[in-house]
């Protein structure tokens, strides 16, 4: 290195900028010490029983059919909710993306209002609607659609309805970004090249919105796996999900090891789902 004009000053500016950039490490340190470390500690607990390293918590899960049922219910619930969220959310996101700017903003605000409403409030609202003598049953009977009240609340169905409603805005927001970003001239180009509107949708619009659908669906599915309040209240004891078992293990049995074993299995499931989806979607481009 040769010492040129002002080189000492410029070097000291470099050094002071470098020092300042170390400040940026603090959030990272905070995340590691406040989130990741406790997380790993809880995970380690699942391999400890009666003060010894053991797989007892995992063995119990496999041996006890009720645990298996809980896992199946949780996965089923998440899958059903995700499927309906995609089916309902895709047309909604598509329709909003076609609206002129002002109407689109209004529509997105309407989507956002339930999103901002407390999950608890929304769940209670659905309880009121879905009850035996709730609004839906009352109207259905008055309209002569059914003779006796349907069993909507306190069931898998009711829980699903509540969760679909809760998850839909998130999915629409996620997908809207992708759908909105699709260049509309591509659709014109497809039409110009001879594609009917349906062909255009299938060969251009759908493939281009797929990344958004997959991201949104994955997000929905993973969040659904962790639902606690809604299945607790709308399931009415007839729906048991993993987070409910985690809560039981901690609050009723004070067995942190068993609770965190459930969490570990849940995380493994989530990881597998993500990897599978990435493998499938990643291949397509």
């Amino acid at each position: 290195m040769t010492a040129g004009v002002n080189s000492a000053i410029l070097a000291s500016v470099d050094a002071s900028e470098k020092r300042q950039s170390h400040l940026l490490l603090f959030p990272a340190i905070a995340v590691v010490s406040l989130a990741i470390a406790p997380f790993l500690w809880l995970g380690a607990l699942s391999f400890v029983a009666d003060g010894q390293i053991s797989l007892e918590h995992y063995a119990r899960m496999l041996a006890n059919p009720s645990y298996i049922t809980t896992f199946v219910t949780t996965l089923q619930m998440s899958a059903v909710v995700t499927a309906f969220v995609v089916l309902l959310g895709f047309p909604a996101a598509y329709a909003i993306s076609l609206l002129p700017h002002r109407l689109a903003t209004a529509a997105l605000t309407l989507v956002a209002i339930p999103f901002w409403t407390s999950l608890l409030v929304r769940t209670y609202a659905w309880m009121v609607l879905l009850q035996r003598n709730g609004l839906i049953n009352t109207w259905a009977i008055e309209l002569g659609l059914v003779e006796r009240p349907m069993r909507l609340a306190n069931s898998f169905l009711g829980t699903s309805i509540g969760m679909i409603h809760i998850m839909l805005p998130l999915f629409i927001f996620t997908l809207y970004g992708t759908v909105k970003a699709i260049d509309r001239t591509l659709l014109r180009a497809a039409a110009n090249l001879g594609a009917s509107p349906i062909r255009t949708f299938m060969t251009v619009f759908l493939p281009l919105s797929l990344p958004g659908v997959v991201t949104g669906a994955m997000l929905t599915f993973i969040i659904c796996l962790g639902f606690y309040v809604t299945p607790q209240l709308l399931g009415g004891g007839n729906v048991t999900t993993i987070p409910m078992r985690v809560q039981q293990n901690i609050l009723i049995y004070s067995d942190w090891g068993a609770a965190s074993a459930l969490g570990v299995v849940l995380i493994v499931i989530v990881a597998l789902v993500m990897l599978t989806l990435r493998a499938v979607v990643g291949k397509r481009g």
């Binding site: 039409a191 110009n192 594609a195 009917s196």
Partner: protein, 359 residues
Amino acid sequence: MPSSIEISDLTKRYGQFVSLDNVSLSVSAGEFLTLLGPSGSGKTTLLMSIAGFTRPDAGSIRIDNKEIVALPPHKRNIGMVFQNYALFPHMTVAENVGYPLKLRGVGKAERDQRITAALAAVQMDRFASRNVAQLSGGQRQRVAVARAIVFEPNIILMDEPLSALDKKLREEMQVELKHLQVRLGRTVVYVTHDQKEALTMSDRIAVMRAGKIEQIATPKDIYEAPASKFVADFIGDSDFVPASVVLSTGDHALARNFLQAKLGSLRDPIFVLRPEKIEIDTGADVSHGALRLSGTVQEVLYQGNALVAYIALESGQVIRLQRGTRTSIMESFPQAGSPVRILVHEKDICIVEQEELAR
């Protein structure tokens, strides 16, 4: 086989704004016609109406005498090159070009062959398996052209296809596209706001203004004989000097008969002075009819390939005079501050009617 296009009384309004005002236009089979005009002049609306993306309020568009004005775009069989190319990002180059063939049920073997041929026509055959994202702007442009010609449409529309390219590449592509059009013998309707591009490529240019066609003619006629001040102003550089100024201050004895014939029919005539069509009067040239004006050189700008002198006429109006930069010209070129006489040959005199142009 190229097709002819017959457009009559096409009208399109957006609220109060009239985008197309009773436009009539015929494009003959195999012609390269350019729609040229400032933004908002209706050129894109006209092109989009032919493509079927804009539905006019009234009027007729016939291709080979068949009415298509109400036909949806996917049934028109017209090729189109979009401004941003509109290549499908989820398909390879070959898949993009093969897309219209696939839609038409062309078998795999023939499809591959035609994809290769179309890509070869634009020198992109080596890139068939590339992703669109890996291509440069110029390469995308070529692929877009290949995709527009691969299904052998009789008409190809181009919407400012070169506007995103840099100047050098743009000029190369102008020549290349023109050659391709001649070789394929297709009818092309081309939209641009680049007047040089229009002059270079077109068989005819339709200059559009406020939803109407102001003048439609060959590039040479558009440039040499603009029908209005708008056209003269929009295409090329020009200075406008009112006829009254020319007649009162200029020496026009030699061109008198000629001028009288030309001025007689015009209301408020003005002269169109193109910087490259006027020269400095050395006194040597007395043989032919010409117009002479006196003035003072205000400033001389050196532009590499041209010298531009700003000359203040006796009336105070400033006009430009342009010359090449050959050393002999530069050496004898008048300096700023020196008085000059300029000369316009009779054949280069162009006169239009005065009008206010919005700036």
